[in-house]
Symmetry: C2
């Protein structure tokens, strides 16, 4: 359908465009040029135009881009026009934080189940959702579709649970564990390695001092 193969560098920037366009809508801005957007976002106008043109011509010469239209188009490109059923594995603070974040639901990411290995948590409520014991995962997956699994559990468990989930047909993993998952090629893995993020701060702080 759309031309393969868009570079990952472009994909990484799309959500940020989307965020800025959303803010512009809230501000009541109807149109914007690549030049003005580039000043707000601190990127080059050329990059904005080239990124967008990977997916088609959304703008118009002499006018710029219609904010609402472009916003909706990017949503479509990103697949935000559909709903995604998300299960959370791990009902610790991180799992709770994700479950409780309302903005995800607004973008079509619905928390449909939460699992934890701790029996004491089984049956307790997190937001609208009841925590199930991890042993019920297979039974659940037999009756319910899972688009995305968020893994907010320690690394030792994460790799094994990802295996189990893959066997149940889950193809997308939002991995918060401090490890790489070992799932087959036909999966989407997006890792959020918080400790690596902190280390980059540490490096940048250090290298700032040295100038």
């Amino acid at each position: 359908m759309s031309d393969n193969k868009i570079s990952t560098a472009v994909i990484k920037r799309l959500p940020r465009y989307y965020r800025y366009l959303g803010e512009l809508i809230e501000m009541g801005v109807e149109r914007i040029s690549s030049n003005e957007l580039s000043e707000r976002m601190k990127v080059t106008a050329s990059q904005i135009r080239q990124d967008l043109n990977n997916f088609g011509g959304f703008g118009q010469q002499g006018y710029g881009y219609n904010v609402k239209y472009l916003y909706d188009e990017i949503a479509r490109i990103l697949g935000l026009d559909r709903t995604h059923k998300v299960v959370i594995i791990g009902a610790g603070n991180l799992g709770r934080a994700i479950a409780g974040y309302g903005n995800f639901a607004k973008r079509g990411f619905l928390i449909t189940a939460i699992f934890d290995i701790n029996p004491e948590l089984t049956g307790t409520d997190i937001g609208e959702t009841k925590v199930s014991h991890l042993s019920e995962l297979e039974e659940y997956a037999r009756h319910n579709h899972i688009d995305i699994a968020a893994l907010t559990i320690p690394k030792t468990q994460a790799v094994m649970v990802a295996d189990r989930l893959y066997k149940l047909g889950v193809k997308a993993f939002w991995n918060f564990a401090h490890t790489d998952l070992n799932v087959p090629q036909d999966c989407v893995v997006e890792s959020v390695h918080l400790s690596e993020s902190l280390m980059r701060i540490s490096y940048n702080l250090k290298s700032m001092e040295e100038d």
Copy 2:
């Protein structure tokens, strides 16, 4: 001291090398070649050698790299040989998750204070740390050094609080709010935009279907 200017692409990869080397140490591996490491990490050996050589020659021909030595050197490069005092702004689930994660302390990131705007949370304990009211931020900063501020608050507050923190001398921000901070150039900002991360999953799921 060390040669400027290392590309950010290299810096992003360093923590991952560090993680793998840590695992090798746990496994009792004493030496490793770039070739073997490249197979484990699924990157090219050439990239590993070139990345490391930005900081000096840590290996030896015919031998490879001493795991423990390289591990320590990367720690030093990343600034993990010092301690960093971290304050958390926002005692919600995300703030709690960060405060409770013991591995950070192991790497020298010490949670020294937690602030929240909600008076009901003031005085409550999170791990070892008591929550203070956000209004006490200035008073606290006058008597205590802050290396890094973690912002786990909504976007509207995050930008303002970052301003306040900058005026108090804080130069590094770990930003979890869904916005860009507007702090001066002499700051380190590391943003963790979870919703953007989710959107990339959505895009990749969609583009996987289309093949």
